[in-house]
Symmetry: C2
Subunit: 346 residues, 2 copies
């Protein structure tokens, strides 16, 4: 372990490895000392980026296989842990994802938590995108097991559409870990001789110095909408995503990548010239060029913006994320009509 | 150098040490490999915090002496570099400050740049607070030499009062260093097959993923106010700070910590019971308790908020930062009158 010495804490003493897990840059970063962390192959790129920034190196991240729907395979997690240990590494953290970026996949948290428990590993859940689903009685089962996580990252600025940025890091810990990890006791900024309990001050618990009171956005929104109002937003997003899926199935020239389990609807628009040509050797190559071309046209027309990307072996497909609570079925109809209009000559 | 191996870059290749210097967390962080960086003892606490986060350890930061006005002493910088090298360390970065947090001191950049040039060290200038002074023809001499810096951090959200947050990192480099250091090439987010030059996309050059277009605030403000309008803001802040200083000198019970060179006006309020008691053995101890007590009273009265802090051997004193362009002489008068009112029975 010559090259895996613990990072220094701010007062110069070594800190426990857990100190490396905390919310950095508004994105939660989770790494391992020497090939010790496990994250699904569909996890967010921030995992590797965090490893680089924290000085651990990207080799510290060990990728766990995901199934065809993008969900982490717990058996492979178990296998990666054994492999890592066999190589003399010290795994300490598993990063699961609730709501992956492209497919919107939810990792099987109960099974992953079992693995973590067996091996004494910290379970972090990146629920930045999917965490808001907990507000829905109907859909919260997607996150079953999240109560067993040691830490959870959640971005109300995503599905709940709070203004950027509004990110929460939730911890089981009650030992003031953030203060112990992040505190730098700058006496010229964090006075201790105040007239109220300075434990309430958050300034010395975070990475940044000057920052906005982002939690206020969530608090005000929650007060204004109520738990029920926010639940309706989530349920409405699911329902509209379902509507989009059904419309896609009805129309010629649209092909779903897969049945979504969340509000990420991934699909190809197959233009007239490619319809019925699935057997052509250059079909996939030609299809992959359609999304960028349509994206250019919609941007130039100023009519809409839909993201696209390749994914593993799959060529470029559109990813419509149905989150905005102001969206209606008419907007969804417009989206499909507009794609047809923009792509009719392709 | 067994424990000072370069950090891995995001693609697994080693990066040069310069890659460690970049804008992290909206604060610029600058560190050295093994006791290799130099920063003045009055520099911002983010320097050490950054060293901890980047996995370099706080021991990597070597502190350079400052004079009684809080300015880095170039001769001591030279000495610290020699000491570090004698210990086998590899100094690579010097972090100077233009506008320290408490005293508002400007380091002598020309002399520091000379030292950096002689030793081949990267010169970073933390001009987060003082950088806006460059907009003033009258006062910009305070930053003479900043044109020789390799990197400069500047926060228009401070003296120019752009909305939090608005931070710029300025580089001499023209080799796309940020992209080379931060780029993670996540194909599902940073598509390369766009219809315009993707070199214009900033998403893959920064630490964060989702973030606001903070530069727009500066651009709009600059368009609205013009260079002259912003210059007036800066000059007005200097003038009002000068007014405050002169008023402090006129009034009994107020004592300047020192003549300010910037808009940080540091002073003690000496309440009636302590006036003329400078020779008492417990004078300093009693005086240090006045600012926290007055702060409590002003907060509870809801009349104003002025920061205070100890500084080196000096007990708590107020630090009035004159930045808000809406402030008038009447506000300054109110501030002093209110302190007298709140502290008359002490």
């Amino acid at each position: 372990m010559a090259d895996s010495k613990p990072l220094s804490s701010l007062d110069g003493n070594p800190v426990t490895t857990e100190a490396l897990l905390w919310d950095v840059f508004g994105i939660v970063v989770h790494e391992a000392i020497r090939k010790g962390t496990n994250a699904s192959e569909k996890c967010h790129y921030s995992i590797k980026k965090g490893a680089a920034f924290l000085g651990l190196g990207t080799d510290s991240v060990r990728v766990v296989k995901a199934d065809e729907r993008g969900k982490m395979i717990p058996e492979d997690l178990e296998r990666q842990i054994s492999l890592a240990e066999a190589e003399g590494a010290v795994p300490f953290l598993v990063s699961a994802t609730s709501g992956t970026t492209v497919l919107g996949a939810f990792d099987p948290l109960e099974a992953i938590a079992d693995v973590c428990q067996r091996h004494g590993l910290w379970l972090h859940v990146d629920a930045a995108w999917g965490g808001s689903v907990l507000l829905s009685q109907t859909h919260r089962h997607l996150l079953d097991g999240i109560q067993r996580a040691d830490s959870v990252a959640w971005n109300p600025h995503k599905l709940l559409t709070a203004g950027l940025q509004c990110s929460a890091l939730l911890l089981q810990d009650t030992s003031n870990l953030l203060k112990r990890c992040h505190g730098s006791q700058a006496s010229y900024l964090f006075q201790q001789d105040k007239f109220y309990d300075v434990a309430l001050d958050t300034g010395d618990k975070v990475v940044q110095c000057g920052r906005r009171v982002d939690c206020l956005k969530l608090w005000l929104m929650w007060k204004a909408q109520g738990g029920q109002g926010l639940e309706q937003r989530v349920d409405r997003a699911f329902a509209l995503a379902r509507y989009l899926v059904e419309e896609i199935k009805k129309r010629e020239g649209f092909e779903l990548v897969m049945e979504p389990e969340f509000v990420n609807v991934c699909f190809w628009f197959v233009p007239p010239s490619l319809r019925g040509k699935q057997q052509s050797p250059d079909y996939s190559e030609k299809l992959a060029k359609v999304a960028p071309m349509l994206k250019e046209r919609m941007v130039k027309a100023g009519s809409m913006m839909i993201g696209y990307q390749p994914h593993g072996a799959l060529g470029n497909f559109f990813r419509m994320v149905v989150a905005n609570p102001m969206l209606t079925q008419a907007d969804i109809d417009f989206l499909l009509n507009e794609l047809e209009r923009l792509g009719q000559d392709l």
